[in-house]
């Protein structure tokens, strides 16, 4: 480049030096400072004790060759000062040239900050919009559920007014007959009264069970089962109705369950009553047969009829409340099968339906025996081993309580009071179940769950929290928990969840 006029060169030299405030440090190959020029004060260098800056520069050029020019822009030095640092090789020595970058850094940073803040705000904005869309969709679902619940309630009232009135009319009618005709009408009237009273009783039981389902789950009440007595009772209850319709009715029992197998007799009876009542209602001719027997592992109740049958499209619907339309020409509250399903599931059993339109239906219920204390039985004894559980809770009282509860369920337990201890304990012992309190000191229990999962822990994780919101639950499950329980603990639910975890492990 051609030289500029001397005056301009001099001006430019002064201008650039004044702006760049150059500081030149010359080192030998062993990083011994051999020469120093320039504005030491501006770059925070104490000329009498340059060691701190030298050390920093030495760190800066760690791993870089000293025999090639280097250019490191925007290096932050001690005291928050910024410089462009250049290495200039010069024979056996090398120079480090520091040029002030303070103003340029300030401008660049302000510009970059604006850009980054805008990008982060954009991310947050789209996230918020997604959350709003999610909330909107949840609200719509909730509204649909409320509308459905309202429709169910209306259907319930409409049905009940009819369902109660019909047997009551019959009861009043036969009472009138008894009063008028005395002994001559006695047998027929008693039969009719019994039939209608039974129907009202079943209806009341179903309504109670339906209400319980709305308010929360009912506990199981395991006890010994007298199969013969149950069969006799069902037979007595339904024989008059079958006789009246001209249907053959068989209620019989096969092998009885062993004495140690416990069942909830009231719920089982309710299931049988509903299925029989349903079968008799929808069978205009032919027979209804109920058979109860222990098949070696489960109690099986089979109710077969030669009734109207249910077409394939309606089979799934018959278990929903108020769907009596699924069976044509129906009469009844439409609650029976939905309650049967709920009760069977409550007893950890299963229900199957085989049916052909015009040929009849067969409902088959299989119920495992219940263990004590109202809990479904865990895995069969042969497969059961002592399961290990880790309790992660910082509250010693809560941890002790959980310890006792898990001990009662046959588990070996260990307690960790923070996330780090929990991670170490899981790595060392791989427990079958980890029970984590979300509200831990410092980092949350969800972080512990996340780390366990990302480290490959495949056991069951149950998260416990005082926060009952749906978002808290979703966060816990997203972090990797299998179950989310809220405090105060429902002990029956707790035991069920723990036992299901154990069965899966």
């Amino acid at each position: 480049m051609t030289l500029l006029p001397d005056a301009v060169e001099t001006y430019l030299n002064h201008l650039l030096r004044a702006r760049a405030r150059p500081l030149l440090l010359t080192f030998d190959a062993n990083w011994q400072l051999v020469d120093l020029h320039g504005d030491t004060g501006h770059h925070g260098l104490d000329a009498e004790a340059p060691q701190a800056l030298v050390q920093q520069l030495q760190d800066l050029f760690l791993g870089l060759p000293h025999d090639q020019p280097q250019d490191l822009p925007f290096v932050e030095l001690a005291g928050g000062r910024h410089a462009h640092v250049h290495l200039v090789p010069d024979g056996d020595t090398f120079h480090l040239l520091l040029l002030d970058a303070g103003d340029e850094h300030g401008r660049t940073q302000a510009h970059q900050q604006l850009g980054n803040d805008a990008a982060l705000a954009g991310i947050e904005k789209s996230r918020t919009l997604a959350r709003l869309r999610q909330i909107k969709s949840e609200l719509e679902q909730q509204r649909a559920r409320l509308e459905e619940a309202n429709a169910l309630k209306n259907a319930l009232f409409a049905t009940l007014s009819h369902e109660f009135r019909t047997p009551l009319t019959s009861i009043f009618g036969y009472l009138h007959l008894l009063e008028r005709d005395g002994a001559s009408a006695r047998d027929q009237a008693l039969l009719a009264l019994r039939r209608n009273a039974s129907y009202l009783f079943a209806l009341a039981e179903n309504l109670l069970e339906y209400g319980r389902g709305e308010a929360g789950e009912s506990l199981l009440d395991p006890g010994a089962l007298d199969l013969a007595a149950l069969v006799a009772d069902l037979d007595a209850m339904f024989r008059p109705l079958a006789a009246e319709k001209g249907l053959a009715l068989v209620v019989d029992a096969g092998a009885a369950p062993p004495a140690e197998a416990l069942f909830d007799a009231v719920k089982l009876r309710q299931v049988a009553i509903n299925l029989l009542s349903n079968a008799l209602r929808y069978t205009p001719a032919g027979y209804v047969r109920a058979h109860l027997a222990w098949d070696g592992t489960r109690l099986v109740l089979e109710v077969r009829d030669t009734g109207l049958g249910i077409d394939a499209g309606s089979r799934a619907k018959v278990f929903k409340p108020f769907n009596r339309g699924a069976q044509h020409g129906s009469r009844g509250a439409g609650l029976g099968l939905s309650i049967v399903k709920r009760l069977v599931e409550r007893m950890s059993g299963s229900i199957d339906l085989e049916s052909e339109l015009g040929q009849g239906s067969t409902f088959r219920v299989a119920l495992p025996a219940l263990a004590g204390a109202g809990m479904p039985q865990a895995a069969p004894a042969a497969n059961r081993r002592s399961l290990g559980a880790l309790i992660v809770d910082d509250d010693p009282d809560v941890a002790a309580l959980l310890d006792v509860l898990l001990g009662d369920l046959g588990m070996r337990t260990r307690v960790a009071s923070n996330v780090a201890a929990a991670l170490a304990a899981v790595a060392a012992e791989m427990p079958d179940l980890v029970l984590v309190d979300v509200e831990l000191p410092g980092i949350s229990g969800n972080a512990a769950v996340y780390q366990l999962r990302s480290q490959g822990y495949k056991g069951r994780i149950v998260t416990v929290s005082a926060n009952a919101t749906e978002s808290a639950r979703a966060a816990a499950l997203a972090a990797g928990a299998d179950h989310y329980l809220t405090k105060p603990l429902d002990f029956a639910q707790f035991a069920r969840v723990v036992q299901s975890a154990g069965a899966i492990s």
Partner: protein, 166 residues
């Protein structure tokens, strides 16, 4: 002073918490305010390794970017180790960190590498699923970290120091 020193670079998209992680590790401080880094800031901390060896980690906190430009590549020269940093609440930042690692291999030959997935204190808002990290762990050592609480930070830097031990 330790005789052994190793240069390590913090690599990751902007706003993932690289500067905060270094501040937590070197000075045990944390600031809620986000201040973007321009250029580079070099810090160091001596790590006592098993066997009585001291190793000085010279930590380069480099301005965050989703891809390496020539300036950033220049900063990487001479590094022995990389700390890839992602923000668990931004899944894209995890992809960026892994991309940066690939690009860095053009400049550095077989660097020791650890991945910090930061902002563990905000785990309820994480977009990165645990199964994703479980998979990534097969190829790189992963630490879930929180510069705010300090969780995982010390362990992560110390692990890299062990990987860089002579």
């Amino acid at each position: 002073m330790s005789d052994i020193a190793r240069k390590v670079c913090m690599l990751g998209d902007f706003g993932v918490g690289k500067t905060s992680l270094v501040a937590r590790y070197v000075r045990n401080t944390f600031s809620e305010k986000y201040l973007t880094t321009v250029g580079v800031k070099v810090d160091s901390r001596v790590v006592a390794l098993p066997g009585g060896v001291d190793l000085k980690l010279v930590i380069w906190d480099i301005a965050g970017k989703a891809a390496l430009d020539s300036v950033n590549k220049n900063y990487l020269r001479g590094a022995s180790g990389l700390i890839l940093v992602a923000d668990g609440t931004r899944e894209a930042s995890l992809r960026a960190a892994l991309n940066l690692a690939m690009q860095a291999r053009d400049v550095i030959n077989e660097p020791a590498c650890v991945l910090f997935v930061n902002k563990l204190d905000l785990v309820d808002r994480w977009e990165v699923a645990p199964a994703v990290l479980e998979e990534i762990r097969r190829s790189i050592t992963v630490f879930e970290t929180s510069a705010l609480s300090g969780d995982g930070v010390e362990a992560g830097f110390d692990e890299l120091a062990r990987m860089l031990a002579p």
